[in-house]
Subunit: 253 residues, 2 copies
């Protein structure tokens, strides 16, 4: 497809399995002349003759966003690809930050965000419906915000009896964040609070553990783990075979 | 497709436009022998010869869930359909509540939740990346929980400087909920806090308003509106033409 005007798609690839892709996301990946993203995400896009592929390191989000914007401004059809939903702790915020701080003409580019299934949704679907009532979503990454702000949010989420989904619970450089977070949650929540560690959801090595706050071992959490901490209304349904269902009641507990 | 064992899919249809459907959701809708759901959602499923379609009123979620479980237990391939993501204020929680309270054999049924793009994700994508950092998701419906619990959660979300997505902000029977919610938020948040009213996202009548807390008029909010209230890090980027971009910075403000 050729065009005289550039366009920037910011595409959510979902959490691994291609079945999570939306039809709009698939269409944008076919249309794109340039595919830009963190290398493991670019590798998930089916190769197409003539399509340029630019795979980069994960720590250069703003550079990647600028490169994508420059290409769209030059008339290219560009797809920035992101795991999960690009709007949830992923590339979309970096692209709009680059727009705000970059060339004034970038503000009038044709930029289209195509949402995807985020890790919390895929994990919730595997379990039942743990996000079935009011919930909070918190990134534990303290690269760009102080730990005190994260700790305060964890406190509000726990006191408000929200279900809590934790992204970026640990990194190679900072494996201790999830231990600090659990210390805060254990002060505020009942020992029998439902806790889920959902590792590599949607990928071959998927592994989901359902436990309780008192028994949960944060050292089992790694970069690929999505952590869900239940509210008072979160319930576990035992089954004869296989892992239990987990859901959060729509009623006040 | 025939099978000797029943199966229950709980399928997210996304927020209107078929482009938001995932490939897994499309496949399940084709495979299903019985499609069950609130009438406007069933109407969005392409008709297929031989497929039974059971459309019901919105207020009988548990009855609908029991009907679906009974059919799956009898060996049928059943799809319960839901707008958005069935795991976010939609049918999945009702189905698992019915499992917990229903026939013991229902616990061992093959139940598969297929997540969808929720209204907040579609609205966020249209705007830019307002959910690009820590956020809370709250239903204002007080059908199943007391208003005091909702008010307390709004307070925690505001004090924690979360972006806030509000579902079910008003209903025909209770149009005042969003007024009460804004009264709470205006006590706690700055007048210039970014507010978005996203009406009928993904449908022909889509209408998105970007404003500020001081100027926002809650009487413009109806049943089909998703409300997003920004955090301190939520920013608006003006454009020469068209509506502005809205995104939440990944950095502490």
């Amino acid at each position: 497809m050729t065009t005289s005007h550039g366009r920037l798609y910011i595409v959510g690839l979902g959490p691994g399995d291609a079945g999570f892709l939306t039809h709009d996301a698939s269409a944008a990946l076919e249309e794109a002349q340039d595919v830009i993203g963190y290398a493991p995400y670019v590798a998930r896009v089916p190769a197409r003759p003539g399509q340029t592929r630019l795979a980069s390191d994960n720590r250069v989000e703003i550079d990647r966003a600028r490169e994508a914007l420059s290409r769209a401004a030059a008339g290219r059809i560009v797809a920035v690809v992101s795991g999960g939903d690009p709007g949830v702790f992923a590339m979309a915020s970096a692209v709009f930050e680059a727009v705000e701080l970059g060339e004034p003409t970038w503000r009038d580019l044709d930029i289209r965000v195509l949402p995807g299934i985020s890790a919390m949704q895929a994990a919730a679907a595997r379990l039942g419906a743990p996000l079935g009532h009011d919930f909070c979503v918190i990134s534990l990454s303290d690269n760009l915000k102080p730990w005190d702000a994260i700790a305060a949010r964890l406190g509000h989420a726990a006191r408000g009896d929200f279900v809590i989904a934790l992204y970026n619970p640990a990194s190679r450089a900072r494996p201790q964040r999830i231990h600090h977070a659990f210390a805060i949650l254990r002060e505020l929540l009942a020992p029998e609070t439902v806790v889920v560690f959902a590792k590599s959801v949607g990928r071959a090595e998927e592994n989901i553990l359902v436990t309780q706050l008192a028994a949960a071992d944060p050292s089992q959490v790694d970069m690929s783990t999505l952590v869900i901490v239940g509210a008072r209304g979160t319930r576990v349904i035992a089954r004869t075979a296989g892992k239990p269902f987990v859901y959060t009641s729509r009623k006040a507990p």
